[in-house]
């Protein structure tokens, strides 16, 4: 009684620390007198982040009193201290993984989200799907904060459908809160509908001055992805006229790829920013992190030498890469030298950088069995290259390669983003499939030598390389085969890091400069280095693609090997077509990704001209997926093709080609167009623009011959050529086309060519 009085008296004077000491000194332990301590704890936490209150709660917690009140206050305290693991532990200990107390639920969601943010330093922000989905089942959000937290948790975990639902609900309930508009745009972007996201960001930029800069940056990023250059330029120009802070301005320079702009702004950063607006410590860290993520390691080093702050992570990366005070890398003295020092180029030749012993000439020789092969691709989305990936696996299995030895790895197979389109077909083949995004890494430790390379890479390559390195370490393949450019780059790097016996990099389409891909263009030296490795083979799927890459890489075209596409003629055959009746309009089809490089607008204009200017009776048929769907539908109406039969999300051969009598492609960029091969395998006449490997993919002789169209060309010009070819082509016999595909692009040929690479029977050019 006396003690309680004393404690109360001390608490009234706000002498909580003294009260705590009094209780301890009086031998009144929390185990024996929990009420007294709880009383003190309650009074003392005027603010949850009060360290005295925390000490008292800690004493109570340690004594085994894990009450809801103590847990909530402790969790709150840990959140303010950025100790998210402790917050999660405290909450889970008391409330379990699916809290039934609303406040605990929100705190746990917040802790998950903040932990992900903290862990995402130098990588993309991701949350754990199972945790997000568990929490989502607990409560309906009642406040905008709760809704925003749970939506972020869901969308960053990849649970996009649920995130969409929750966001729609939040938009209805909190119509004035702009955050849910932004989240809708972000979810649309994640769901591969960037065109719709752009529209939202445009509205945001127009009405919300606070979000204008962020919205414009989003528009730049998305329109660049969509290949809508004019819009991207306009948004960059608008940002350029705005009085941005230095980090934002540098970001603008980086996204617009203007080196002198970067150079100039980095020099200003080295001065500590403008005298009118000095850089803060956080700005300095942001600037250096941004540069490192973009591969400008030299500028990062230079700015560090100019005493600009760098983050702890960046400091560790620079030091591991030899740019520390005792490192072996020469330090750039001028900004020009620094600008030229880019990652990964500074590590080339990679073999020397890693101090690998030189192998004897002829290594790694030939094998009798391919051993274990790891085939890697970005996704299994609905593109031609992904289809070819499956065809290759199918061909190899059919050719006798044991399925268990043919591992397939993907950077992501997220269903809600459409990255698993061909997963069922692949799974049917019985090969081990690894989703690098969701798989659990058994041993996350990475040797220093490996981190010193991977951590310095530009962000996008860094993440791929790390994920693939873990997979390669577990699978231990004898041959590592990167299927498309992105996977090829990662495979080339990881193959060297893991000392894989054989590495095959299959390039697709055309060289990066032809397809105006600035990001890939920056890896030119890396590709060149790959070509120097004795155990590395670079392949292209078309002769012209090989030539184009050889030109870009300034190498002889014989150094790029051919690995032509393969078509499963048992799936694609004339029997899947619905024959046309005599007086029916010609069903002129197109099957391609609905993206700028396939020129869908030109395709519509050409078809419109065939109908309206050349009097061809036709039905336009379009199949495909992609970001331009909305735009295509609108343009079709505009040019008098209201009857356009556009269907997306199809994968069955009969759904794709069954309703077509001829196929037309007017792409700007192509490798070997699968569509033309598949269409001909079905017996359909085809016409395509003379880009990439189109000429190789079309039967060119006889009455069943296809049509090679000039490119670039106006819609009218294309239509004129098609009009004079089409009527006879649809009446011609289909057998020559079918035989042409079987002969040159059958699965057997593909398996044989791939197997030769895995066995080392394809000679490397000196």
């Amino acid at each position: 009684m006396q003690a309680r009085k004393q404690v109360r008296a001390l608490c009234e004077k706000e002498r909580f620390s003294a009260a705590s000491m009094f209780l301890t000194g009086s031998g009144l332990s929390p185990e024996d007198h929990p009420g007294l301590w709880a009383y003190l704890a309650r009074l003392s936490h005027r603010s949850d982040d009060d360290p005295v209150a925390h000490k008292i709660r800690q004493t109570i917690w340690n004594a085994g009193d894990r009450s809801a009140d103590v847990a909530l206050r402790e969790a709150n305290y840990f959140l303010t201290q950025e100790d998210y693991q402790s917050a999660i532990f405290v909450l889970k200990s008391v409330f379990g993984e699916t809290p039934g107390v609303r406040r605990a639920w929100h705190l746990l969601a917040t802790a998950y989200l903040r932990r992900a943010e903290l862990e995402s330093a130098r990588s993309r922000l991701r949350t754990i799907r199972s945790e997000a989905e568990q929490l989502d089942t607990c409560f309906d959000a009642q406040s905008p904060e709760e809704a925003a937290t749970i939506i972020d948790l869901l969308r960053l975990s990849g649970a996009l459908d649920r995130a969409t639902e929750r966001n729609a609900d939040a938009r209805q309930r909190f119509p004035q809160d702009p955050r849910f508009v932004h989240r809708e745009a972000r979810i649309l972007e994640q769901k591969r509908n960037p065109a719709a996201a752009v529209d939202i960001w445009r509205d945001v930029a127009a009405i919300d001055p606070k979000m204008r800069v962020a919205a414009l940056f989003k528009i730049v990023q998305l329109t660049q992805f969509l290949g809508r250059d004019e819009e991207a330029f306009a948004a960059i120009a608008e940002l350029a006229r705005m009085p941005l802070r230095l980090p934002e301005r540098l970001r603008l320079a980086l996204v617009s790829g203007q080196h002198q702009m970067i150079n100039s702004l980095v020099r200003l950063a080295a001065l500590g920013g403008s005298r009118n607006e000095p850089l803060t410590h956080a700005d300095g860290i942001r600037v250096t992190d941004m540069l490192l993520d973009a591969g400008y390691i030299g500028l990062t080093v230079w700015l560090r030498r100019q005493r600009l702050p760098v983050s702890k992570d960046t400091r560790a990366v620079l030091s591991a890469a030899g740019f520390g005070s005792t490192g072996l890398q020469p330090l750039p003295d001028t900004v020009e030298e620094a600008l030229a020092l880019r990652s990964p180029d500074f590590m080339l030749p990679l073999q020397s950088y890693l101090d690998r012993r030189e192998k004897p000439s002829g290594w790694p020789g030939m094998r009798l069995e391919p051993g274990r092969v790891l085939l890697v691709n970005g996704t299994l989305g609905g593109g031609g290259a992904e289809r070819q990936f499956v065809a290759l696996v199918q061909a190899l299995v059919a050719d006798g390669m044991p399925a268990e030895n043919l591992h397939c790895g993907f950077f992501s197979l997220e269903p809600e983003r459409g990255f698993d389109r061909f997963l069922p077909e692949l799974a049917e083949l019985g090969v081990p499939i690894h989703d690098m995004r969701s798989r659990t890494v058994s041993n996350p430790t990475v040797p220093r030598e490996v981190t010193s390379v991977i951590d310095t890479l530009p962000l996008e390559l860094r993440e791929d390389a790390l994920a693939l390195w873990h997979l390669v370490r577990e699978v231990k393949p004898d041959a590592l085969h990167g299927w498309q450019d992105r996977a090829g780059l990662a495979a080339g790097l990881v193959g060297e890091l893991a000392e894989t016996e054989r590495v095959i990099m299959s390039l697709r389409n055309t060289a990066p400069d032809t397809r105006r891909d600035r990001r890939l263009m920056s890896y030119k030296a890396l590709y060149q280095d790959f070509l120097n490795g004795q155990n590395r083979w670079v392949t292209a799927n078309a002769k012209d693609a090989g030539k184009d890459f050889a030109r870009w890489l300034e190498r002889d075209e014989s150094e790029i090997h051919s690995l032509k596409n393969g078509i499963d003629t048992e799936r694609f055959h004339p029997g899947i077509l619905r024959p046309r009746t005599g007086d029916e309009p010609i069903r002129l089809g197109g099957l391609f990704r609905l993206a700028a490089n396939k020129c869908p607008i030109l395709w519509l204009d050409c078809v419109s001209a065939l109908r309206h200017d050349f009097g061809i009776s036709l039905t336009p048929v379009l199949r495909g997926n992609g970001p331009m769907q909305g735009e295509i539908e609108e343009h079709a109406r505009k040019v008098g093709l209201e009857d356009l039969d556009l269907q997306t999300g199809l994968s069955e051969p009969s759904d794709l080609y069954g309703q077509m009598d001829a196929v037309l492609l007017v792409s700007r960029v192509e490798g070997i167009p699968n569509v033309l091969l598949e269409a001909q395998a079905c017996g359909l006449p085809v016409a395509g623009t003379d880009v990439g490997g189109t000429a190789e993919a079309i039967l060119r002789r006889g009455e069943a011959a296809g049509l090679l169209l000039p490119f670039p060309a106006e819609a009218g010009e294309l239509a004129k050529a098609v009009a004079s070819w089409l009527p006879a082509a649809v009446s011609a016999p289909s057998a020559p086309r079918v035989n042409f595909v079987k002969r040159s692009f059958g699965l057997q040929a593909l398996a044989g060519n791939a197997m030769r690479l895995y066995l080392g029977q394809t000679e490397r050019q000196p």
Binding site: D229, E230, F233, A234, I236, A237, E238, A240, R241, M242, P243, L244, R249, A253, S256, G257, Q258, H259, Q260, M261, N263, S264, L265, R267, L268, L271, S274, R275, N276, E277, R305, Q306, R307, D333, T334, V335, E336, D513, R516, R518, M521
Partner: protein
């Protein structure tokens, strides 16, 4: 370019950009003060007009340029070649969109490097682009120099008096283009690099734009002498000798940019001195120090109107070369005074500094016959446009006559009797043994020892009351006070003694790892009978040598075998004065 004489032109962009360097060749810009705007938002108020060196730089600071209260010219550049085409095309479109939608652009004009470029760029941008005025052609025959942007080294052929046609190399990043166009005729090696084609055409100038008549300047030609932080006085002494010659021959004003504590001596000799501190002195972060030093040095060069930078030392600190690349520093030549007789193991890469220079002057060395150092046996890979000349040995003697014995003794407060001067270097095998020998033999021969204290040395800690210590400079003026000299064999002491002193000399060359091959020099003198030599490797003979030397001192012997004749070399001034003419 239209300018008001003396106005301030703010440059936005990289100051090493050839265009910013070539601007000073416009007659109208002769008096312009070029202000490098590293921080345009703050600097824009300090200038009268602005030139932005490319559309990309303009994009970096567009809000500041659009709201500027002074005229702004933006130089629109063409692509640097196929690899740059995509980025350039994007840049042009962004730039065009930025200006087209700007509220106010009436103060902005777009310019290009040539008429062709202006025409093409006008079409690309959809807005008028005017060509910059043409530069005057620089008279005289110059070797064509093919410039390739990504080749760090320029290779060209030039006629030399000694070798005829000779292939030369120079790093591209060491030359200011205003200087390059005086020394050579730049040509674009890669015609796909349209910007380089434009630059070279612009740098070549036009015959329709005649060079302005060269007015006789009322001001003295000015040279800035960079003195490194050496341990001896050799650098300073040689440079003062050259400066005195140039002063007499052409009234050249010499300003010393000195890191040496000898600055006081230089100033006392009547020269202007700018005393500097290096990064070590200041405990500064070297890159920061270098940046600051570059900017300061460039500012002084422009401020004093220097036409020549002279350096006497081993390797050039980059700040010198970097400063010479600043806008407004392109009409300055470089003279390197580089002593021979380097130790054979000296890293020959130091010779590569020849590429920075117009003239490499090697002060003659009496022992050059035994010179096997890199300056004698190696050739620099990068020699640039430099040529090399050799002079007679160089000392201050012709300019500062010696005192009579009486006067010298009085000035040194030595009194009567026989005196031997001891002036030793920093390292010599067993020091205590040598000191003991000097002490014993001088006492035995009744010779008083006078220890010379270098003006650069810290105060002596030796408190022996019998020790006579004197500090004086230069040595030659006081030599008559002494009956013998024991000295190290550095260039300066050696030549002052061998060319202007009659008494016995004992050379005790230092054997530390400095560049100077003192042992070879001393042994050569010994072999010719000019001096006795005591070295750290002849320990057994040291006693006898010292004994014999002190006897000679005691007997006041005269040595008659030393070289004679005039040591003044007026011939060295002509090629240096030619440089002043070239850059005027």
């Amino acid at each position: 370019m239209t300018s008001i004489p003396g106005d301030r032109l703010g440059l936005v962009g990289q100051w090493t950009d050839p265009v910013s360097q070539l601007l000073q060749d416009f007659p109208a810009e002769a008096k312009t003060r070029f202000v490098e705007m590293n921080d345009p938002s703050a600097d824009i108020a300090r200038v009268d007009r602005v030139l932005v060196l490319s559309q990309q730089y303009a994009l970096a600071y567009l809000p500041e340029l659009l709201s500027a209260q002074c005229p702004v010219q933006i130089l629109v550049r063409r692509s640097e070649g196929p690899h740059d085409q995509l980025s350039w095309q994007s840049g042009i479109q962004i730039f065009s969109a930025s200006l087209r939608n700007a509220d106010r652009t009436d103060h902005i004009t777009l310019v290009a490097l040539s008429s062709d470029a202006a025409e093409v760029l006008s079409k690309e941008l959809g807005m008028p682009v005017a060509p910059l005025p043409e530069l005057p052609v620089h008279p005289g025959k110059r070797p064509p120099v093919a410039v390739k942007r990504d080749d760090p080294v320029l290779t060209f052929t030039m006629e030399t008096a000694s070798e005829g046609r000779e292939t030369r190399r120079v790093r591209q990043d060491v030359l200011n283009w205003a200087r390059l166009r005086r020394l050579g005729a730049p040509l674009a090696a890669d015609t796909q690099d349209e910007d380089m084609v434009d630059l070279c055409e612009f740098a070549g100038g036009s015959h329709e734009c005649p060079a302005p008549a060269r007015a006789k300047s009322m001001e003295s030609p000015c040279m800035v002498v960079v003195v490194p932080n050496g341990t001896g006085l050799g650098h300073v002494t040689r440079m003062m000798a050259i400066c005195k010659e140039l002063q007499e021959a052409a009234g050249v004003r010499s300003i010393f940019w000195s890191y040496s504590r000898a600055a006081e001596i230089v100033q006392a000799s009547g020269f202007e001195v700018i005393l500097r501190q290096n990064a070590v002195h200041l405990k500064a972060h070297p890159p920061h120090w270098r940046q600051w030093e570059t900017a300061e040095f460039a500012s002084v060069l422009k401020g004093v109107g220097a036409k020549l930078v002279c350096y006497d030392g081993g390797s050039f600190d980059p700040f010198i070369v970097n400063a010479l690349r600043h806008p407004g520093c392109g009409h300055i030549g470089v003279l390197w005074v580089r002593r021979g007789m380097m130790r054979p193991e000296t890293d020959a890469s130091m010779l590569e500094s020849e590429q920075y220079c117009d003239l490499v002057l090697e002060p003659g060395d009496l022992a050059s016959e035994v010179d096997i150092g890199p300056t004698r046996v190696r050739t620099a890979e990068h020699r640039g446009f430099s040529r090399a000349i050799e002079s007679k040995p160089m000392t201050l003697k012709p300019h500062l006559p010696s005192y009579s014995r009486r006067e010298a003794k009085r000035k040194l407060e030595l009194g009567f009797g026989k005196h031997c001067l001891v002036s030793l270097g920093g390292a010599f095998g067993d020091w205590s043994q040598l000191k003991r020998l000097i002490s014993e033999e001088s006492r035995a021969n009744k010779v008083r020892i006078v220890w010379a204290k270098s003006p650069l040395a810290p105060p002596l800690t030796d408190s022996d009351p019998d020790t006579v210590v004197r500090q004086f400079f230069p040595l030659n003026r006081y030599l008559n006070a002494f009956d013998g000299v024991i000295t190290a064999a550095g260039y300066n002491s050696f030549h002052e003694l061998m060319l202007g002193y009659e008494g016995p000399v004992l050379l005790a060359p230092t054997n530390n790892v400095r560049l100077d091959n003192q042992e070879a020099r001393a042994k050569y003198a010994g072999s010719r009978g000019w001096a006795d030599v005591i070295t750290s490797d002849n320990i057994a003979e040291q006693g006898e040598i010292m004994k014999s030397f002190m006897r000679q001192v005691s007997r006041k012997e005269k040595i008659t075998t030393r070289p004679s004749g005039s040591i003044r070399d007026k011939g060295i001034t002509a090629p240096i004065i030619d440089l002043f003419d070239l850059y005027s």
